[in-house]
């Protein structure tokens, strides 16, 4: 099981700030999680190409294995300032 946190336009697309993924590959990479998300949540699919992934206060690469005990955070293109 993995908790996924959504920000910005992803919240709007999913209609929620958090999702739970129950079925995942073993020792998933971020990319593998994004693939599952795109399949299970078609409304998110158009945005996942330009999403960055984070856990805690750090970005992670998509080929990196994630820690499934912590939320995976999905960050769409940023517009601060």
């Amino acid at each position: 099981m993995l908790e996924v946190e959504l920000f910005g336009v992803l919240q709007q697309a999913a209609g929620d700030r958090r999702l739970q993924l129950d079925t995942l590959p073993d020792e998933p990479t971020a990319a593998a999680v994004l693939a599952v998300l795109g399949r299970d949540y078609p409304a998110l699919a158009p945005y996942l190409q330009r999403v960055a992934c984070a856990q805690g206060d750090s970005l992670i690469r998509q080929d990196q294995r994630i820690d499934t005990s912590r939320p995976l955070v999905l960050l769409p293109p940023v517009s601060g300032g």
Binding site: F7, R50, A52, D57, V78
Partner: protein, 150 residues
Amino acid sequence: MSRMTDQPLDMDQLLRETENDACGALVVFGGIVRNHHGGKGVTGMRYSAYGPMAEKVLTELEQETLEKFPVSECRIVHRTGDLAIGEASVLVVVRAPHRGDAFDGARYAIDTLKLRLPVWKHDFYDDGSEGFQDGVPLETAAQSDEGTRS
């Protein structure tokens, strides 16, 4: 003041916190909510952030600005929540012995903030519509020039 806050930004406090008798130049940049975007009238904005990472990005960006430019002070604060037209969403304060360096440092800080800070603008338009502004995809360490950022 913490760097990410839902309270109005306080320029006077930042100026006090950065006082430095060796610095002859002060440059302040303020990002202000303006009344138009993409040809439409704007009535207000909502800024949301991924807090834990945003605080860290600003702390690192202050440090990086101090290292890359001959500047002595760099402080950055960013607002979240609902902002009215004319309110400041971000303040950058840089002090340096010389003015060219202070300008360069402040410009670097705000330009880089826009590439790295996990913050999202949501516009409210005067025709009743609303929506997130499109932005800049965050680069992960593997994609960027420097490998140390994440």
